[in-house]
Amino acid sequence: MNDHTRKITKKIILYLVSFFFLFIFIYPLYFVIISSIKTNTEIFTSPFKFPSEFHFENYKTAIEIGNIGRQFLNSMFLAIVTLVLTALAASMVSFAISRLRFKGQGAVRVYFVMGMMVPIQSIIVPLAWAINNFDIRDNYLILILLFTASHMPLATFIITGSMNSLPTSLEEAAIIDGCSIYKVFTRIVLPLVKPAIATVGIFVFMYTWNDLLVSMVFIGKAELRTISVGLLNFVGARKSDYGALMAAIFIAILPPLTMYLVLQENVVKGLTSGANK
């Protein structure tokens, strides 16, 4: 086989395999979308066909009966507030670790990173006890603080790493000029670690949006449910209403999907930053 043929064969194989995997990864999504605008009988009789008529009642069912709209807002609220709080708290801690001097600094750093090894399931039982004892069920404030605490390790790790790689010259100049340490934080360091903060923001948003276990245990009232829990309950009660199910799923994946479409680079960086231990 000469070189040219080899090159073409290679290209063909590459494309074949690529399309094969494209099918495997994207087809389920395509399936969700077309099923969500079909009627239930259509979904069973002709599952693969692209629908000729679009039925949007499924979305109506999902929103009205499944209350997906309300849950969407709940999740959005929780995710955004947690994001802000985490970014704030983590940057402050990172600044202390990275720029300030105090006894036991190294130990503090390790202390925070240690948290990355704590799986959230291990604290579910004491969590349930606390909910019981302090009557904090359905309390969004505590829930947000809890989410923030669970993301502190990774957030701190990322932002500290970013701060450490910043040259201190700018800060030193500012201090000589009479800047207070607080101003140094807000005016100089913070703007420079914006990319790291963006990364943190994205992964905190995604993980909070997608959370299931903590939301399940913590929230009881139907109006306060998050979208993951709501989706599960909705499906449980309407297992045979596949059209509505698909519509609900589609609504649930819309924000993360949109985020990905628009902010590709950042999303990828955010989610893969977990690898950079």
Binding site: V81, V84, D138, N139, L141, M216, G220, A237, S240
Partner: protein
């Protein structure tokens, strides 16, 4: 502090306040609990107010309901009408309906309410002896006095049902629930498919049943699909078999711990189900199908029989002319149990916390009793195919589903001994899950003995800490 720093702290405080505000208006249980305590002390110290309150000048009363009557449940519309009637009578009372149809969400909601000490005011919790745990810990209210003071209930609600709700037999004095529905469990069958398969009459014995299944299989229809992913489908079958093989007494013995799940006759029931599966009576994929799919298959004629409660009648309205009913077949060598059968009462309990809120309790009891009123019971029969819990309800045959008429005839003539879910006679509430898992285990590879062993050992482990 710099301006920027101040801004950030302001944002933080705003966020914190906003979320606290949200949880407060979301009416989080923490705040509510606090309010209740406050209002309690207020009413105690402020005697002067009570007179005006009695005139219904709207002290803040919220009644919370946690029932199964929601969404697709047949009783939903009726419940809503009852609630509306109550609301019109008492416009100042707020009704918070947290009902959900899905059994998982319902159980989760109830259990977590119990764990946080914040149970609803009216709960539709199933089970008989399993109420004991909740009766003892004050989760459910003792209704004995209330019933005694309400002649309409005391005199007209079927005493056998009221007795079921009395727990002296398991060591707790008092009646802890108000029955509002009664259900039977029977085989519904598709008359057309039976005809096509050449079956002339509904089977009465198990041998006849096997015959029927063979004929159905020959005609290309899955005889009896069971949606096994919902384990309770199989649990119901086992209860029925237990009563036909060993009688309702056996369930009571199991519940009173005089008998064990590993007893030979109980193991036989499990083996019998395995045998049904092995004969292909349930079809091929039944393990992966759920209740909803099973029902859909019955409606579309893919399966000819479905063993279900009388709550199904309302859903079969469109095909009721083509559906017949027959009781679970009896064993020719155990004819003495021929007249034993299943009845599932459905009931309402009141939250134990109402003991300290006599004012509110009056309203809550009134609302609960409305579900057992003559009018409501009549409508339950007509609209939902439920069997009335009262003895004074007259029903006209042409106003109800023919299926219900059949059931009432059966109830009158063929059944003498009634039993509820077999697991409900035990005080360990989680037995329901334990048996469910074990039966599914028996259908997915365990032997009947192993399944029985699993039930018994888990039951003993669960009971030891109570």
């Amino acid at each position: 502090m710099s301006k920027g720093m101040r801004k950030k702290i302001a944002v933080l405080l705003a966020a914190v306040m906003a979320s606290a505000g949200l949880s407060a208006c979301g009416g989080n249980t923490g705040a509510d609990g606090g309010q209740d305590a406050e209002s309690k002390t207020e009413t105690k110290t402020d005697e002067a107010k009570t007179d005006s309150e009695k005139e219904g000048s709207g002290e803040e009363i919220t009644i919370r309901l946690l029932t199964r009557m929601s969404g697709a449940d047949s009783g939903t519309k009726l419940k809503e009408e009852v609630l509306q009637e109550f609301q019109e009578k008492y416009p100042d009372i707020t009704i918070q309906d947290e009902s959900t149809n899905d059994s998982n969400s319902f159980t989760n909601q109830f259990k977590t309410d119990v764990a946080s000490g914040n149970v609803a005011d009216i709960i539709q919790w199933p089970g008989i002896s399993i109420m004991k745990e909740y009766a003892d810990t004050g989760v459910f209210l003792d209704l004995t006095d209330l019933i005694a003071e309400t002649p309409d209930i005391k005199d007209n609600v079927d005493s056998t049902l009221l007795d079921m709700m009395e727990l002296s037999s398991v060591g707790t004095e008092g009646t802890y629930a108000l029955p509002i529905n009664n259900q039977m469990e029977v085989f519904y069958y598709n008359k057309e498919l039976f005809q096509k398969a050449g079956i002339e009459k509904a089977p009465e014995t198990w041998d006849e049943f096997y015959d029927v299944c063979d004929k159905l299989k020959e005609s290309g229809v899955t005889p009896w699909v069971v949606g096994a992913t919902n384990a309770w489908r199989v649990v119901h079958i086992q209860t029925g078999l237990l009563y036909k093989m060993c009688g309702v007494e056996k369930a009571k013995e199991l519940g009173g711990r005089k008998a064990k799940w590993t007893d030979e006759d109980v193991v036989e029931t499990i083996a019998f189900i395995q045998d049904l599966a092995d004969r292909g009576i349930f079809g091929e994929d039944y393990l992966g199908l759920d209740y909803e799919t099973e029902k859909a298959m019955f409606v579309s004629g893919q399966t000819a029989m479905s063993f279900d409660g009388s709550w199904r009648i309302a859903e079969l309205k469109d095909m009721e002319d083509n559906v017949g009913v027959f009781r679970m077949p009896y064993f020719t060598d155990r004819e003495e149990f021929k007249d034993n059968d299943i009845a599932y009462p459905s009931q309402l309990e009141l939250g134990g916390h109402l003991k300290d809120e006599p004012e509110k309790l009056k309203y809550v009891w009134e609302l609960a009793s409305m579900f057992a009123s003559k009018e409501t019971q009549q409508r339950y029969a007509y609209d939902c195919g439920n069997i009335p819990v009262r003895n004074d309800v007259e029903l006209e045959t042409d106003k109800m589903s023919p299926l219900l008429a059949d059931l009432l005839t059966i109830k009158e003539n063929d059944v003498k001994v009634w039993g509820s879910d077999a697991w409900a006679y035990d005080t360990v509430a989680v037995l329901e899950d334990i048996v469910g898992e074990a039966f599914i285990g028996a259908l997915t590879g365990m032997t009947a003995d192993e399944a029985a062993e699993q039930i018994q050992s888990r039951l003993e482990a669960a009971g030891s800490g109570q």
